[in-house]
Symmetry: D2
Subunit: 397 residues, 4 copies
């Protein structure tokens, strides 16, 4: 099989990005180095479906150094960095990914990975696992990066249709406590700064949702001088936001005061017609959630079919006699408007991935077709590597 | 039976404190008012073993208004506020408590509560439950306020010796997420301010432990201008502290820089000889944990048998050619040096207590002899009452 | 002359407080020690009019150790700590001060200090200087601690009636940048905690005024979890508050949402009838300014002649069908409800005082009858002593 | 005269940027609108030497709408945005600016502005004023944006060589309190995020200098989760940093712990050989000061003549067996790595510029050849406009 990518000429540029990321993902380097001599993955074929970013390339190259034979496609038709795809291909990885795929091309690339007949499948969102369950190939096991993907797999499990054991990497403490909170917190602010170039000090920022993502975004927005109000549906989380010193209000009551609205809920249709109508002229709308369903973009288009692009990733809708600015089309602002999570955070998540793949390769025979949490020893090991990478010192218990 | 208290003449003063606390514990008032007409506890005898504070009196009077017949003793020989004991007694509660009991008197008071033959037992720490398990009386059920007490009851359960169903109030989200973090956070700072009268801006504060209590203490110390360093044994918590912007170090490495040390671990012998030896002249030692075991007070006495009381609750030990100041004898600083948790936070914890007692009174027949979590509906109801009490508005889910 | 104090029997207790304060005012100790051998003040009689607190006793004893002969009265009829007065008296200082003086007694004590015929006068507020200008005695010079006192002296100067050179200690950077901001910031929070015992997390705190005091109070209130709104009359300060992430509103617009109001303006009648009428049931009123003129206490009494004392320093007024709580009678909350500025901060202010007195003793002959700023070398010297006392290290310029 | 710019075809793109900035600079719009009908500048020729950015274009177009005839060159050979230059040219402004000028071209463009024979000169840095003093033309007056430029003009004044009155816009409170602190604070963080893409939580950030810029950068770095240490030479500022809760250390003592170093001093050679030698592998070096003199870039080149560009604006030097990363060549990180100050802040500075130009046009005859501060009424007017623009409400004094 040969790769399908946009332009192999970008490989050198991709390598530069890879090197920068690797320098700041020392946890993965340490895992690689402590296992490299034994090549523990040399009898395994791995299939990946991930966002093709510089951080992902560090995971892929580490897995290759441990002996694996690898095919990879992208977890999203729009998120591939073509230079990284080219670099991975030049390193002998089978890559089926380019930026701006059609839905059909996206599906075909997933099929290409399955035709490679991987032993272990690593997915971000669950599309690879879903396709795998439709194929007749047998797999040793899989891992899953996201909450969404884990939920889809748990449904399969509850219907007794899960075909292989899966490790829910998302559930590791060293994944969701850090990636979802601090990672999204910083990169959402970064995305808003790059997209708008505006001042945050004194801005009225409305954060919808006070889960891990909302917590991270709120504390960083406040750290930049914004005045933050939280909207919530869960009274316990609302109370927590209040005790953390944030205003807590109903969205409809603060629609008219917000300068910037950021959805962090993971749910559909949070910002709707009734809120958009009340907003003040110039309000900005951003989404930090995984899917582009939290802001009712359809309603905006129903009011203004031809919004004007006033800056890259900033569209101006004329709507109820005022201007509303939609950032990055309501898609996840940190990936579309900035570079996603910084490498130091992805190192934690991908360390869990790599150790879970190693764990599966050794233990798949004794596992049943269930969704497993990441073994706590792996979680602790990742934390200990991170402590070392950050030059921290902790006490003996 | 008649009360045993220090001085009934203090009842009026106690009533004043009760009224102030009740005004700021509207959640409990609401629960009381929405149940008062039916007197749902009128067939029940309740036995309590709690710290006799103004906040506790609000719980006790609310339970009485719902019809209960009540006896109470203290959860600690030193924590009783004599004016509150007098006030409760004047309201017809059987009270067996005064400040400064001997160990034997303390035990006798617990026995007095049991001789009252209560149907439901509410405890803080587990001493009442332990005594109840030695008696031949039968009980309908019980509740427990603390982590420590819950642990003791779970041991009984694992040995199949638990005699009645118990609700672990400590495990409610609206208890431990708020009481342990924000409550202890503020009241520990309050205790240090009242005890020392010193300046916190720019002080090097070493917080041992980054659990809920450590998190609360750290963020409030930083909020007062201190420079905070965390010591931990758990790499995941250490990493969290680091991402929250705190220095993370080994205690022995920072022993020589700390101005104030605050233990928040719940474990024994955290600050020991090897740390005390390294400390600088004038260092201060405080404990925010439940028991006085976190600082090795014995070692201090071995170095200086006659420490000087330089301010109320501040003892100066001459030790290794320098002065070390022990605050409130290493006992929990927020209760000894200040007034414990503020009423607004205790309202959350005690709302869980009152609703759990009501729940037990209705359902004890269908429960088995197990440790139960607080039913999630109760947890949510407390949160909703608090949302209302704080004038917050949340969205419909 | 012999002292007039409340009870010489309190001297030992006063010494204990003095020692604790001195331990934390090492700057003053260093100044004392580097001058002690020469006894530079041995030919001088010093007259002081200051709040008689433990911190003041450290200044007085230091001046005595440098050779001075000293008389002191209190800068306020209510602020004297009787144990400190006793301690100073037992050390040979002439003390004319006790807690709870009548206005006439207060004036007589000032006269007693003047009859001592001091060479140099140190004042807090300007009452001693005013009295000195009515006497026929000649003085070498004086110093003044407060903004208010400096203003009164500048009026005398503008009328060409100033009788001796005065150093405006208040104007030193190492005085007003620290004392007014961080000192008042912490001690105001401390005063509110001790007075009310209530929870600050999530409380709506309205801070009137965003000068140095307002800045300090706001940042510490936020640090304790409160939601802070600023009211201002100066658009530049209002904008600064806004950029610091605070809500900025008109007082009448936020009167109905505040849980705690804190005046920090130095002006009269900030919280008036129209605001009090709008406040919600249970609102609390505190003043951080020097004089008790910022809250219209008269209006409260016109509504309720007999407010109830619900806790020490907390009076409940029934007013417009609701309860309003006045803290410490609207007098400066940090001194009445807590212990005033912590010693580390007073060390900065009093180091300026002591060095200014030494400067006057050497240079009074060459000075004219003007209000002088503290010489910048003294300001820098105090900063450098503080840097040393706090174990900080700075770079060479 | 006709413009000299890079590409007039970029005018439309420039207009889009202009419109976005104008939308967020409503203060300038208000000034423009309240004066527009009278065309008060219609008899005046204005000469500008500013960074040609989208914010500058809003000032220029506003001045044009008030009737002025305008010529402009750039204040820096590298900072011109070519699309803005094209847009201004298409609007009838004489523009002499393109990105990447040689030193000689830069000087020639300044001369072109002077040949236009402007009545009033507005400068950023002082190069235009210096050239004007060498020409024989007479000018009515000038304004100056920066501290540096003001210093150069004050030297001319002290030598009695100043040829026309100049208003020091930099000295307005509404300029330096906001632009230097909050503007640079945010945009420096923005520049570091865009340049490195790295994680700030838990990073050891060393900020050199605690003036307005250092204060702004420190508080925002802490707001993003970094652990911030300050180095200073001034003991008063060092003490202030300490009381604000920052570590204060000598640079040589913390050289080995810093992950990111940010110079904010305005002085030369702050980070030198002795510091660079001690730094750890991977340390990053950024400058927030106006000139590229704070980091000893020359020493880096002496160690590694051919640094590798590992990301845009990130050069890796091999130096003493480790890698050091220099961001944006040690040039001001917020302009080179991001977009400079956000428009809301520039609106404050440029409102002072526009009102000062209007003031000069009315009053130049009565002014002498001195450096004047911005009249306080202008400062207050700008603050009031900003209060209105931000929808704040302040109290009447």
């Amino acid at each position: 099989m040969s790769s399908k990518i946009a332009d192999i000429g970008l490989a050198k540029q991709g390598q530069m990005s890879y090197t920068w990321a690797r320098t700041h993902m020392t946890i993965l380097e340490k895992i690689k180095m402590s296992n490299e001599s034994k090549k523990p993955l040399s009898d395994y074929k791995l299939g990946f479906c991930l966002h093709i970013t510089k951080e992902t390339s560090v995971l892929i190259i580490a897995a290759k150094m441990l002996g694996a034979d690898i095919a990879i496609c992208s977890a999203n038709p729009l998120s591939t960095q073509n230079d990284i795809a080219a670099f991975l291909s030049s390193e002998g990885i089978k890559v089926f990914a380019w930026r701006g795929q059609s839905e059909r091309q996206y599906r075909e690339c997933i099929e290409s990975v399955l035709q490679f007949q991987p032993d272990i499948l690593t997915d971000d969102g669950g599309d690879l696992h879903t396709a795998a369950h439709k194929s007749k190939t047998r797999f040793y096991g899989g891992t899953e990066e996201t909450t969404t993907g884990v939920k889809r797999l748990e449904i399969l499990q509850s219907r007794k249709r899960l075909k292989y054991p899966v490790i829910a990497v998302n559930n590791a403490y060293t994944k969701h406590l850090f990636d979802n909170r601090y990672g999204t917190g910083q990169s959402t602010i970064d995305g808003i700064l790059r997209t708008t170039g505006l001042f945050l000090s004194g801005k009225q920022v409305i954060v919808c949702g006070y889960g891990w993502v909302g917590k991270g975004v709120s504390v960083r927005a406040r750290g930049m001088g914004a005045i933050v109000t939280i909207t919530e549906v869960d009274p316990i989380k609302a109370l927590e936001a209040h005790m953390d010193g944030f205003n807590v209000q109903q969205l409809s009551d603060v629609s008219y005061i917000g300068d910037i609205f950021i959805t962090c809920t993971g749910h559909c249709r949070i910002i709707r017609k009734e809120h958009l109508k009340k907003m003040k002229d110039g309000a900005m709308l951003a989404n930090a959630g995984h899917f582009d369903v939290e802001i009712d973009v359809g309603y905006l288009y129903s009011q203004d079919k031809f919004p004007i692009l006033v800056r890259p990733n900033v569209e101006c809708f004329k709507c109820h006699d005022k201007k509303l600015y939609l950032l990055s089309k309501g898609r996840v602002i940190n990936l579309v408007g900035a570079e996603g999570h910084p490498p130091e955070v992805m190192a934690l998540s991908f360390a869990n991935q790599l150790l879970s793949i190693l764990f599966l390769s050794k233990n798949y025979r004794s596992l049943t077709n269930k969704v497993y949490n990441v073994p706590h020893e792996i979680d602790l090991k990742v934390a200990r590597y991170a402590i070392e990478a950050e030059n921290l010192r902790i006490d003996d218990s």
